[in-house]
């Protein structure tokens, strides 16, 4: 019995690691086209706008991050972030804003503040009912911007 239980657990774990994709393939296949872009999986422009609006609210209520936005033009930030997320998620948009270095230059944003802002962005996605796995995929498209944002 003990041996069987062990075998079962090992098989389960191995199948997650090696055959994981096929194990989960059924769920991703059943959620329609698995080749859809992240933009399409999110549900397009409306969902991105909802995430960005939630994100702005999260920032407004965070005493540590809000000071960075106090003097910024919120409607421009909103518009450019929507564009940026649309582009990063392979949607039909072109980002027309400044580079990440230009935007964050001189702010001296620390790693802690960056990671805290990622936490706020995750909250924004959760409140927009974006699934855990889709959240991870969205974040994966954004991580390369980190080196242009912190300690500038």
């Amino acid at each position: 019995m003990h041996y069987q239980l062990r075998l079962l657990m090992i098989i389960g774990i191995i199948s997650i690691f090696l055959g994981g994709c096929s194990l989960f393939a059924t769920s991703s296949a059943s959620s329609s086209n698995s080749s859809a872009s992240i933009y399409e999986q999110l549900g397009g422009a409306n969902k991105i706008e909802e995430i960005v609006d939630n994100f702005i609210t999260e920032i407004e209520f965070n005493p540590e991050i809000f000071p960075y936005f106090e003097k910024s033009d919120v409607s421009r930030f909103r518009e450019k972030l929507i564009e940026h997320l649309c582009m990063l998620s392979n949607g039909p948009c072109e980002y027309t804003g400044d580079t990440m270095v230009q935007v964050h230059g001189g702010m001296g944003i620390t790693e802690r503040e960056f990671n805290l802002t990622v936490d706020l962005f995750i909250n924004a996605m959760t409140k927009a009912n974006v699934s855990h796995s889709l959240q991870n995929k969205v974040i994966a498209t954004m991580t390369h911007t980190r080196e242009d944002i912190i300690y500038q």
């Binding site: 997650i16 690691f17 994981g20 991703s28 620390t110 855990h132 796995s133 991580t143």
Partner: protein, 267 residues
């Protein structure tokens, strides 16, 4: 000098990406030290961590209390007290492990390459009588040096985050040092490979496997260690891990399997 605010809490990493504390007190998985430093400190923060771990095996019980401080996500200093109960001999083996770990480069989540750290563990046996009786070359103290590489991949397994770790350790320790260092079979340092792989099922639940290669210096058939673990990480200040472990043959007693329970706190 830095001043701690009243509600101090280092929380500058994403939840679930700080790793755990392993049985020798280093940041890691359960039995393998990883490149991650325990705690949620970022480059500007200091974290304080403590863990209590118990491993219940067929013929033995291992209890570990450990504490560590991680400074600027760069340097980790740890101390662990291990108590190994041997009921059949009505005795206990006590070992202290002092550890240092230095992050060389990389960020486990954000760099395109793994986070890589080097570590040192200095182990001191309180009473080497059992180590001597089993033929250990040194029954007092020993040192392990390791290099570890760890990486989290965001959303790669059907959208779930995955983590892997590979560690190479130079060691002479028998059963982690509890049975002394070196022996009749071998008296020199050997490189042992250790590895871990895990999946984060949510921001609060991780599932994984670990493997730790072991030397057989004493000629008593010491075997590699393995475990399957599930961690629950409700907040950045607390986590608990339950594992099923197979530590193989220990001091001639075969098939030492059992459960591992670990409770960890971080500030």
């Amino acid at each position: 000098m830095f001043i701690l605010p009243a509600a101090y809490c280092a929380d500058g990493k994403l939840i679930g990406t700080a790793g755990l504390m392993q049985v020798e007190g280093a940041g890691g998985g359960g039995i393998v030290p990883w490149a991650t430093l325990a705690g949620y400190d970022s480059q500007d923060e200091v974290s304080f961590n403590a863990v209590s771990t118990r491993v219940e095996l067929d013929d033995y019980r291992l209890s570990v209390l450990a504490a560590s401080i991680s400074i600027y996500d760069r340097l980790e200093i740890s101390i662990a007290q291990q108590l190994f109960d041997v009921p059949s001999l009505s005795t206990q083996i006590e070992q202290q492990v002092v550890g240092l770990k230095y992050r060389l480069f990389g960020d486990v989540v954000y760099s395109n390459y793994p986070q890589v750290s080097v570590g040192w563990q200095h182990k001191t046996l309180k009473d080497g009588a059992i180590a001597s009786a089993l033929g250990a070359e040194d029954n007092q103290s020993g040192n392990d040096i390791y290099v570890a590489a760890t990486k989290v991949h965001l959303g790669v397994l059907a959208g779930f985050n995955a983590v892997w770790n590979v560690t190479a350790r130079a060691t002479k320790a028998n059963q982690m040092g509890l049975l002394g260092f070196g022996g009749d079979n071998n008296t020199s340092y050997q490189i042992m490979l250790e590895g871990s792989a895990g999946i984060l099922l949510s921001r609060h639940i991780a599932l994984g496997v670990e493997f730790r290669q072991k030397p057989n210096n004493l000629g008593l058939g010491e075997e590699h260690w393995r475990d399957l673990f599930v961690s629950y990480i409700p907040s950045k200040s607390f986590s608990m891990t339950l594992a099923w472990t197979d530590l193989g043959s220990i001091a001639g007693a075969p098939d030492q399997k059992g459960f591992y329970l670990s409770l960890q706190g971080s500030l």
